[in-house]
């Protein structure tokens, strides 16, 4: 079809560009403003023709520590998610476990529980344990966003691994553990990357646990930093937008560098679960 009507298909491309421009305008507006600090919107240029980095300087000095906290928390959550999820996915996908259906049911259900309910209970538990306002506490809470998703994504992938491969390994004398480490893990690389990317994003974007399980600045991620920034009267949107832009970098990088994993995660997480 497309070969017969090249002219018409370019019309679609133009239309697509318009839709895209409409959808991405807010993102553009953020980046544009981030390079024009101290300028009120009324005088803001539509293009950053007089770019300045003051917004980024201000953002780094006030939010640098928070960005670092976000990074530590997100990487920590990825490690927890993969460590917990990968073996579980293996057990659920390759061997018939009695109660596996119940576990899968619980996984799906857990993704639908409102975060505020979890936060409400965690607050008192964290208070008793003395891990409010700690990075470790936040890493574990944020992992809760990624663990069910990771297990579902990875096990769906592992199901496709041919049994014959594993049996061959066993014939060669490899035990369960060695089969897992040397055959299943390398084969599941793509699914693990997808799970890691999303676990990272979930933790990086988390706002609710950051808000409820932290009341001081000891472990404040950048999402909470932005919230506190915009909570009152904002004098300089340029710096806020510089912070927002930096907080968006992981999403943008993932979008460019890991497209196929993003697509796999977006559809796999919802439908193929």
């Amino acid at each position: 079809m497309s070969h017969k009507q090249p002219r018409r298909s370019w019309v679609y491309t133009v239309l697509g560009c318009l839709f895209l421009a409409f959808m991405l305008f807010p993102v553009y507006w953020m980046v544009n403003a981030s390079f024009q600090p101290g300028v009120s919107t009324a005088d803001l240029d539509w293009l950053p023709i007089h770019p300045g980095l003051d917004g980024y300087r201000a953002a780094f000095s006030t939010q640098g520590a928070n960005l670092l906290t976000s990074l530590v928390v997100a990487v920590g959550a990825v490690l927890v998610c993969l460590t917990v999820a990968t073996p579980a996915a293996y057990a659920l996908s390759l061997y018939r476990v009695r109660g596996a259906a119940a576990v899968m049911f619980a996984l799906l259900l857990s993704q639908m529980i409102p975060g505020i309910v979890i936060a409400n209970a965690l607050y008192s538990a964290y208070n008793d344990l003395g891990i409010l306002n700690t990075t470790v506490g936040l890493i574990l809470a944020d992992s809760a966003l990624g663990v069910p998703f990771s297990i579902l994504i990875i096990q769906a992938f592992m199901r496709a691994i041919p049994m014959s491969l594993l049996e061959a390994a066993r014939v060669d004398g490899a035990g369960r553990l060695r089969t897992f480490v040397w055959i299943v893990l390398p084969l599941s690389r793509n699914a693990m990357i997808t799970a890691a990317l999303f676990s990272f994003l979930f933790a990086w974007s988390d706002f609710l646990f950051a808000l409820t399980l932290n009341s001081n600045s000891a472990a404040r991620p950048v999402t909470l930093g932005i919230y506190l920034f915009i909570g009152g009267y904002v004098a300089d949107w340029g710096s806020v937008m510089a912070t927002a832009t930096m907080a968006s970098v992981p999403a943008a990088v993932l979008l460019v560098a890991a497209q196929k994993y993003i697509a796999a995660g977006a559809t796999g997480g919802a439908v193929k679960a």
């Binding site: 298909s9 919107t41 049911f105 505020i116 309910v117 409400n120 607050y123 915009i230 979008l255 977006a266």
Partner: protein, 305 residues
């Protein structure tokens, strides 16, 4: 394996070891799920029937009060507002997200240059941290300096107090949430469209069914299962939205954008009435559960087909 006559002791031992091995692999995940989902649910149920306040943290005392928290929450003047807002917010968001998402999915099903690149760039709003999105929109919707009013001004529209008027704040919040949800709807529906074989459209075209007719007779009926899943997931996700509302309006002005989720947050973490927060949270869970069970039923029957 099961039909083999009497497994020898060695075999039985091996089996037992295998079983132990499987559970060892599952144990960390189960422990994690119990701690971070099981415990909170049970704890929340307990807190909701206790007088659980900041005092509890010092004295350790949280007297049993029966259903008093539920009564207090439901009787409070905010509840009916929050409930209505939640319904409006959810229905409005889902309607907008779904319609636009479906239209875009159908649009991107056509073959044209740069299709794939555009489709993935469309995902950006969905991948951004929600609080970032609410910061951008809070500024864009500012009454005096926001770009939205500037653009409307070009068309002769007077400045609209998007986030500060009780009449339009909910509309503004719904608009932003629609913008956020379009990519998710589009992606899932697009992948659903991909599963409809092209031959069906070709055959229909021979019969003269193209465009709207083809959509009504082929696309819509075949897409139905995916549509149901998208809608139900959309509802479950929208019911628990907090970031957007807290970031844009904090539930204000004077409760105009308060939902069950934000009200539950406020009860616990602003008023420190953890018992009441838990009670409202449980009501929210109950509502989500209805939709969640419908979803599970649907995906399960989808898998078994």
């Amino acid at each position: 394996m099961m039909t083999e006559p009497r497994p020898g002791p060695a075999r039985r031992q091996m089996r037992r070891r295998e079983e132990a091995f499987r559970w060892a692999f599952l144990a960390p995940a189960i422990a994690f799920l119990l701690l971070y989902f099981g415990y909170p649910i049970v704890k929340n149920l307990m807190m909701s029937v206790q007088d659980y306040t900041t005092r509890t943290f010092y004295t350790g005392e949280a007297p049993f009060v029966g259903l008093a928290n539920y009564a207090a929450v439901v009787k409070s003047s905010v509840f009916s507002t929050a409930l209505i807002n939640t319904v409006l917010f959810t229905v409005g968001s889902i309607t907008g997200q779904f319609t636009i998402g479906l239209a875009l999915a159908v649009f991107f099903k056509k073959h044209f240059p740069l299709n794939g690149v555009m489709r993935s760039l469309m995902l950006l709003p969905w991948l951004l941290p929600m609080i970032v999105s609410s910061a951008i929109w809070k500024w864009m919707l500012d009454k005096d300096s926001g770009v939205v009013n500037q653009l409307l001004g070009l068309a002769g529209v007077e400045n609209i107090p998007w986030l500060t008027s009780t009449e339009v704040a909910l509309v503004a919040v719904v608009m932003v949430n629609i913008w956020l949800g379009i990519p998710f709807n589009m992606t899932i529906l697009y992948s659903g469209l991909q599963d409809i074989p092209d031959e069906l459209y070709e055959a229909a075209a021979l019969d003269g069914a193209t465009g709207w007719k083809a959509f009504r007779n082929i696309t819509w009926p075949l897409l139905r299962p995916v549509v149901s899943v998208v809608l139900i997931l959309g509802v479950v996700y929208t019911l628990k939205v907090l970031d957007i509302i807290l970031g844009l309006t904090e539930g204000g002005p004077s409760g105009a954008t308060e939902t069950l989720a934000t009200q539950s947050y406020r009860l616990s973490f602003a008023n420190f009435e953890f018992g009441q927060g838990a009670a409202l949270g449980n009501i929210l869970v109950l509502i989500s559960l209805v939709f969640a069970l419908a979803y599970l039923r649907m995906t399960r029957s989808g898998v078994e087909d």
